[in-house]
């Protein structure tokens, strides 16, 4: 791999091209391996594909680019504080719709920081949801028989199935 390369091009699962800087790509182990394996010189036109859809990949790359300077150099407490605030805003945006995709992508790309952030966001969202709302987003069916529901209600008064 040539050290002069500053950014690489990757393909999303939808076939769109994305640029990601080398320092940002280092946040992900699999991407890092790709950097080492794939030839990035001009005469090599192989573009690696990342199994993440375009909409999600935009967000993942945005996260990487923001976090890369701190991950690579270490940072002061005030930077960490600033980054925390940025994370909260980042997760507030249109992420709700694609949160599960981000979870899958962060897991697949071994990005610990983003994975933790997305898991915590999902947990916090669940706190405000009813049982049936959660069933819907997790694709879960209520598989308790009416007798079992009755029994659970007896054991734990106040427990809800809706």
């Amino acid at each position: 791999m040539s050290s002069s390369v500053e950014a690489i091009t990757v393909l999303s699962s939808d076939g769109d091209e994305f640029k990601i800087t080398v320092s940002a790509a280092k946040l992900s182990k699999p991407l890092n391996w790709m950097l080492e394996d794939v030839c990035f010189s001009d005469d090599c036109d192989e573009v690696p594909t990342i199994e993440v859809n375009s909409k999600t990949l935009v967000k993942v790359i945005e996260y990487c680019e923001k976090h890369a300077p701190r991950a690579n150099s270490g940072a002061s407490d005030s930077d960490a504080e600033e980054l925390k605030k940025w994370d909260i805003e980042f997760m507030k945006m249109d992420v709700k719709d694609i949160l599960f995709h981000i979870l899958m992508a962060a897991n697949y790309l071994h990005m610990e920081g983003l994975y933790d952030l997305a898991c915590q966001t999902a947990a916090d969202l669940m706190k405000g949801m009813t049982v049936s709302q959660i069933r819907k987003i997790f694709h879960i069916k209520n598989d308790f028989s009416s007798e079992e529901q009755e029994q659970l209600r007896r054991q734990h008064p106040g427990c809800s199935f809706d």
Binding site: N107, V131, I140, H156
Partner: protein, 378 residues
Amino acid sequence: MESEGDKPFLPPEIIINILKRLPVKFILRFRSLCKDWKNLFNTRHFIAQHASFSAHQNPLLLLHEADFYDSGKPPSLRLVNRNMETVQNLSISSIDSFKHHWSAIGSCNGLVCVRVHNLGRDGSSKLCLWNPAIRDVKEIPLATRKDKLESCKFGFGFCSLINDYKIVNFYKIKNKKNANKNKKNVAGGHDGVEVYSLNTNSWKELEIRAVLKNTTIKSNQVSVDGTIFWFGAQQDSSHVVVSFDIGTQVFTLTPVSLPFEPRGFPMTHLSVYHNKFAIFHHYFNNSWNFIDIGVMGDVAGESGKSFSCTDRYDDFDSSEYHFDLLCIWRDDIVFREPDKLRLFNVTTQEWKDFPDSVNYECRLGVNYEESLVSVWNT
């Protein structure tokens, strides 16, 4: 917004990573989602993951209080958050096991170990393990000699290596014949040690060396990372830290030299500071007050442990000279004054008063993280 159907199916490892972050009340609520989740919440693996996640969050402060002026009133337990607000009064008196007088011994992974004194004729007492978050209580009768016990000093802790909770009891047997004759001897040491294991649900007598038998336990207990600690005095008045390895069931005595202080002996209190065992020596009289904090460090050597004085906090700006140290709660030392609780932040060196001053005497303050850990250990 896209249709809900667009959301992918998450693999179980991701779902578990999300669910372990939920406070206990939500886990209990989501039991009724489906059978898979209900069963998951009962697995040892999930309970351990949930506990180890919440152990790294901000612990609540568990306060054990008794009414100064009304001894007939049962003591109480409450949980306090970082803003010093009471988030929950634990309704311990509604539990049958706690009808009698009781005192809290310690807390670990969301389990609280409580001693209940039966004030009836036999004067027997029992222990209870209690998980307030899931309202689980288990009574643990003391081993056979309960009517003969004169005094007990307890310790309670968890060892992740063997995944077991243990209670240690340094007991002393009543000896009516010699009680008056040997009053001096009665004052020190104990007659034996028994250990309760939650996994086997039984007590076992431990063989101990004479030097440990003659050591008098003089402090509260504290448990860190698979070890239970006490502070004790030996027959020659030298001081030791008694530590009990929960996994190997081995006691270690580590000599402690008190920091030289010509003005008198300190009150000693044990606590946990940044996940390490810490000793506080509190020196005071009516004109001055200071505290030495010693944190245990690992050194190469026979015992492998040493204690060094790491910090000294001088000249407390306290309105009352009569105050005690309860525990460390993250970066705050929790102090008890006759009618209020105060926090002293060791980083900023600032004082904060608890907003509600009460006529309650606080007997114990410990860090508490709620958990799903079952007292039945099935």
